[in-house]
């Protein structure tokens, strides 16, 4: 047994523009290089081929944008000057990926995968008016269930998505159609925007999709994993009010 790595830094970052087409696995490699470029110490895994100990939150589908992505970084030594970390890391990341907050979190905090309870999304739909989209949303919310047939592990299963839809409304028209706002649950499994759209009547096709927030719940209150002004060393748990 080896000693547990004592420190964990949680960063929030955005993924906007052309870089939205970068897949999750590639993004992890981009992060490994960025941390080496920024010369920030990171703990490595043991074994034949040691890798930096990074854990990402809920994977973002390729081609989606986000204002609220998260990454936990384990380290043997606390990083100095956390306030400077967002700028230092952003300079080492590709255009479109910017670190917007960095915070030390306790190793006893639940992992990002466990902590997140819902995500807020903006979903663009083309060739539809805001009024027509509003009617689709009203129908979906008025119905007792929102059934979707999908493949899972080779089996066809039918799920009711309705309990996972925390909020759903029309933001307004866009130059090419209209925009939806949705808050979708992530426990026990994530409801994806594409799955929601497929369950609507009629089913809709997504254009640009952006994740704007990831939420957690503590003591019955919903709060962001890291708010955008969270760049200071403090345990997330302590900050919850």
């Amino acid at each position: 047994m080896t000693a547990p790595v004592p420190f964990r830094i949680r960063v929030r970052f955005s993924k906007l523009g052309k870089v939205r087409f970068l897949g999750h696995r590639d993004l992890a490699r981009v992060w490994e290089r960025a941390l080496r470029k920024a010369a920030l110490p990171v703990a490595y895994s043991e074994g034949f081929s040691p890798r930096p100990r990074l854990s990402f939150g809920l994977a973002l589908s390729t081609a989606y944008e986000s204002l609220g992505e998260y990454l936990d970084i384990d380290t043997w030594e606390m990083w100095p000057d956390l306030a400077a970390v967002p700028g230092r890391l952003s300079a080492c990341l590709p255009e479109g990926i910017d670190v917007t907050a960095a915070c030390a979190v306790s190793r006893s905090e639940p992992s990002l995968q466990q902590a997140v309870t819902s995500c807020t999304w903006l979903i663009d739909i083309v060739d539809i008016s805001a009024a027509d989209l509003g009617a689709v949303v009203d129908r979906a919310l008025a119905a007792p269930t929102l059934m979707l047939e999908r493949e899972r592990k080779g089996n066809t299963v039918t799920d009711d998505l309705r309990p996972q839809v925390v909020a759903l409304d029309v933001v307004g028209p866009t130059p090419t159609g209209a925009r939806l706002h949705a808050e979708l649950g992530t426990q026990p499994r994530t409801l994806r925007p594409s799955e929601l759209l497929a369950a609507l009547e009629p089913p809709l096709e997504e254009a640009l999709v952006s994740r704007t927030h990831q939420w957690t719940t503590s003591d019955g209150a919903r709060r962001e994993i890291l708010p955008l002004d969270a760049t200071h060393p403090m345990h997330v748990g302590e900050r919850a009010s």
Partner: protein, 652 residues
């Protein structure tokens, strides 16, 4: 000259690996073209993952972008899914840097490293909206240029390219830029295309196929002759004298998505004089020009800092031959700034020069794969190909690798070599089995992967006269090795498809009569022929037959001394009589020493261009026997434990 991004963006969610098309790499540039500037589109005719790491294109990309009168961007062949969408929506080929249309550039410059990418060249030109045949292009169309190793026989694509550049591109890219700039300044008027091509033909190293006629007498080529008196009869390759003057790429591109050779690459020398007779690269890139060790160190150090890579490859045709290789490796691995996390890989490791010292240095960080290339299974066969590795050399290297903790290694072999007998072929299986046996003393499950490739004779090598083995014969030989290793635990066998080897063979020594064949294969959808799922052997063979051309005549026929080759009007500096003598020596099993450390054989590569080998060390490296009979201890004794008795690597 607007960006095509808004047209491309809606297509990307529908294709595989969309990150191939977004650019944004660290090191990439976003030029803002000014009137009169010459625009180069540096293009690799295969996928982004294969093309991005190409060092030649990256070097030229930087050199052009440093010029005030020019700019360069990059492009790669879109995969078939995106291509279909582009054709459906009329989106032309684009650069990945600013997503500018390919046809907006003044030159589209392809790197040609593999014959099976030729149809992709046509496809990319067509996707750019440019006529595929150079004769059909007008003043408004870009010039289509090619460079790289395949250009030493460009005749199979002569009808499709405007200019062919032979040899090192560092200097000539600027000379071409200046000629094209004049053309632009003159307004690229109607009919001016012929003038710019005539002017480019005056630039040393530039071959303009349309200014030459190929004359045939029946099947036989009589010669390729200039159509105008001012056009050179022989086009000589370009060679830069001093690699130290060209520390490029200064800002190696760091792709966001995974590519082949995804690491920092630092070229430590160019050229090779080992004289392996099958190896075109070793023949056409002579002489040897080492980069000063100090420059290698600083390129490694600054490159690692800038890129965030944790692996660096020291590249060349035979990296263990670099003077002072051990010190450079040690400095890199032990640099405290690298936190002990940086690994070094040495591609093209020669078996006989592999030293315990180097291996021990490398394995301090992560252990990368080990690949040795004995190339042939018996000493006799290795004498024929002039790869003078003794079995003891190989076993010594393998033993030391196992004792340093490696469990797996890869061995490269060729089959279908001149004079090869079944005994030679079966020798491959023997060597592999013996290597696994050596490993058992150190590990429970040692493993050796044998990679077997069919030999394709190449222009400007001593084997250019040799008739390539048929696919049936190659398959039989592969079968011999397969059967002989079937029950050997620890030996894995991989082989290159002999049918693909056949098609490579057609183009390797083909002539202009293949142009319509390549065009037809492309028109029938034959793109991405390097990819086994797209390779269509039948299409090639049927198209050859439809054009009345004999595969046997192009590929399997032995050539005679007086045969006129389709590349006789081009020159890599090598004297034809040197190559012929070397071919005769091969058939007599005579080895040839490395001329870096022995007297000159007058191959022509140095004397013809008034340059010399640039080597920091006057003595050959440890283990560098190469049959020279030289005192191999001069590079330093390297004790290796083979069994219980310590011996020197490669010692008899």
């Amino acid at each position: 000259m607007g960006s095509l991004w808004t047209a491309l963006e809606p297509l990307l969610p529908k294709v595989q690996k969309p990150a191939r098309y977004i650019g944004l790499e660290d090191g990439s540039q976003r030029p803002d073209p000014q009137p009169g500037q010459v625009g180069w589109l540096m293009m690799y005719p295969d996928t982004y993952e294969i093309g991005l790491p190409n060092q030649g294109l990256q070097i030229l990309y930087e050199i052009v972008n440093e010029r005030p009168d020019a700019y360069a961007e990059r492009s790669y062949a879109p995969w078939v899914d995106l291509e279909a969408l582009m054709r459906q929506r009329n989106v032309p080929l684009f650069s990945v840097d600013t997503h500018r249309a390919a046809a907006d550039f003044d030159l589209i410059a392809f790197n040609l490293s593999a014959e099976l990418t030729y149809t992709n060249v046509l496809n990319c030109v067509d996707l750019a909206g440019v006529p595929v045949r150079s004769a059909d292009r007008r003043a408004e169309h870009p010039l289509v240029a090619v460079g790289g190793h395949c250009t030493y026989n460009p005749e199979p694509i002569a009808d499709f390219v405007d200019i062919v550049v032979l040899g090192d591109g560092e200097e000539v890219v600027s000379e071409i830029t200046e000629v094209v700039r004049e053309w632009k300044t003159g307004g690229r008027t109607d009919g001016s295309r012929e003038n710019v091509l005539r002017a480019l033909a005056q630039v040393p190293g530039v071959y303009v196929p349309s200014l030459y006629d190929a004359e045939f007498d029946g099947e036989r080529l009589v010669g390729i002759f200039p159509r105008f008196p001012d056009v050179p009869e022989i086009v000589e390759k370009r060679t830069i004298a001093d690699l130290g003057q060209w520390p490029y790429p200064r800002n190696q591109l760091v792709p966001l998505t995974e590519v082949v050779h995804d690491r920092l690459n630092v070229e430590v020398f160019r050229g090779c004089t080992r004289g392996c007779r099958f190896c075109q690269a070793g023949m056409i890139t002579r002489p040897v020009r080492e980069r000063p060790a100090e420059q290698v160190r600083s390129m490694v150090q600054s490159g690692l800092r800038r890129t965030g890579y944790d692996e660096v490859a020291l590249t060349s045709l035979s990296t263990a031959d670099f003077s002072g290789i051990e010190a450079v490796v040690a400095d890199t691995v032990n640099d405290p700034l690298n936190c002990g996390q940086v690994s070094v890989s040495l591609p093209s490791l020669r078996v006989d020069a592999f030293t315990v010292g180097v291996a021990a240095q490398i394995q301090k960080a992560r252990r990368t794969g080990l690949t040795f290339a004995p190339e042939a299974g018996t000493w006799r066969m290795r004498q024929v190909i002039n790869k003078l590795i003794r079995e003891e050399d190989l076993y010594g290297a393998v033993e030391s690798a196992y004792s340093q903790g490696w469990r797996r290694m890869k061995l490269y072999f060729l089959t279908g070599l001149p004079t090869e007998t079944d005994e030679d072929t079966l020798g491959i299986a023997e060597l592999a089995k013996n290597c696994v046996e050596l490993g058992r003393a150190h590990h429970k499950n040692p493993s050796v992967t044998v990679s077997l490739g069919g030999f394709v004779p190449k222009p400007f090598t001593p084997f250019q006269w040799f008739g390539q083995n048929t696919p049936v014969e190659l398959q039989r030989k592969i079968g011999l090795v397969r059967d002989a290793t079937k029950h050997s635990k620890g030996v894995q066998l991989k082989w290159h498809d002999p049918k693909a080897t056949l098609i490579e063979g057609i183009m390797s020594r083909g002539d202009r009569r293949l142009c319509p064949v390549i065009e037809d294969v492309w028109r029938h959808g034959g793109t991405f022929q390097e990819w086994s799922e797209h390779f269509d052997h039948r299409l090639w063979v049927d198209t050859m037959a439809a054009h009345g051309l004999s595969v046997d005549w192009y590929v399997h026929r032995h050539r005679t001394e007086d045969e006129v080759f389709g590349w006789d009007h081009l020159s890599a500096g090598l004297h034809r009589d040197f190559l012929w003598q070397d071919w005769r020596d091969a058939l007599d099993h005579l080895g040839l020493e490395d001329c870096r450390w022995t007297p000159c054989y007058d191959c022509g590569a140095c004397t013809g261009y008034g340059i010399e080998h640039v080597v920091a060390s006057a003595v050959p490296p440890a283990g560098g026997s190469q049959g020279t009979g030289q005192d191999r201890s001069s590079g330093g004794d390297v004790p290796v434990r083979l069994g219980v008795k310590p011996i020197a690597v490669g010692a008899p």
